[in-house]
Symmetry: C3
């Protein structure tokens, strides 16, 4: 709580942005888990960067982000497995320039068709969120670290 608890106006502004981030993540990850690759990529800035632990180097730009999800989703479909990404315990730090530094705990749940769900990966996600011309949130930069490799 280093931000904006000084007064009611600032605390209301914080509540607004906090709800908005949670809503953004819910929709963002539902797109990913549904295999809506292009729609998901469009929740990044055009030059958005995703530094994923499974990729040797960061994925940059919507075309590469889309391609990555399309491939991953096809693999899961062939395997008969549904993944769910949950960004929880969200810590939002509004910056002076209006961007948001957000840290969250990421659970990836995997459920095979006809089988029991399992906690596949536990990660920490660090995002830089910015707004487009219409005020909508977008991911400009994401860095994910896996707890099993910490």
């Amino acid at each position: 709580m280093t931000v904006q608890v000084e007064n009611v106006v600032d605390r209301t502004a914080f509540a607004r942005v906090y709800a908005e981030v949670q809503q953004f993540y819910a929709r963002h990850m539902y797109l990913l888990d549904s295999g809506a690759a292009r729609e998901w990529a469009e929740t990044f800035t055009p030059d958005g960067v995703f530094a994923a632990p499974s990729a040797p180097q960061p994925i940059v730009g919507r075309a590469a982000l889309t391609a990555g999800v399309e491939q991953a989703h096809a693999e899961l479909r062939d395997k008969g497995e549904q993944h769910r990404h949950l960004l929880l315990s969200v810590d939002v730090a509004p910056q002076q320039d209006g961007s948001l530094v957000v840290r969250s705990y990421a659970q990836i749940i995997a459920t095979p068709r006809g089988g029991a769900p399992r906690l596949h990966l536990m990660c920490v996600t660090r995002d830089l969120l910015v707004r487009d011309a219409d005020g909508r949130l977008l991911v400009r930069h994401r860095r994910v670290t896996r707890d099993d490799r910490a």
Copy 2:
């Protein structure tokens, strides 16, 4: 984020309803997990519908909802198992008529007495929430799909 990001007034309204839905779900599921069957059923409208994946047809109305929970809770008690239902990654879409279309990821955690907890089921929950005469949220319709049967 298809809703109400146009201006500060609307974004404050969204934050209000987003917090309210999370609070509603926390209490709603605590009632369920505590076996408070009737109190839980009263968080549905009198004609509320619960289309559960485990039931052959939708459960309709508070009496049937209460009976279903009483039976399920008795079985868990005999088995010595505590279940917890968590509705996470909540996506709230306010509708023109004041109702709320809400999608969430549902984790059901099962813990046997003296044993380790396990992720029992991973589901997607789709609710239609409405308000009673006092403005309180109620579930009018719920549909749950299990990831293992997707």
Copy 3:
């Protein structure tokens, strides 16, 4: 929803405090999971009480809280295991005196280096949160119950 849904002013106040509690917990638990023992202890009141299921009697005061976390974190480091504490399904009940009674579902996720994460413990956490002179939230009293011992 026994609190403050009567009107827009009260519902905005509730949204403010609800976001604030979630943000507080996110930071509070990140400090714990990072082994930042003293910083974590400072999110309790000076006379804060933590009634943990693993401790024979409540831990009282920041020095004892710090020592407890330092020991636990050293053990996890030796073991090569990362723990994550998530307080979810948060139920916030504002009290007349400005304090907050908060109940949440607590998941503790454990990930061994090079291994798969597991749901280590499922608990219910009951907090009394108060504000310091600067308006910041602090834990005055915490009681945790484990589902496997219920």
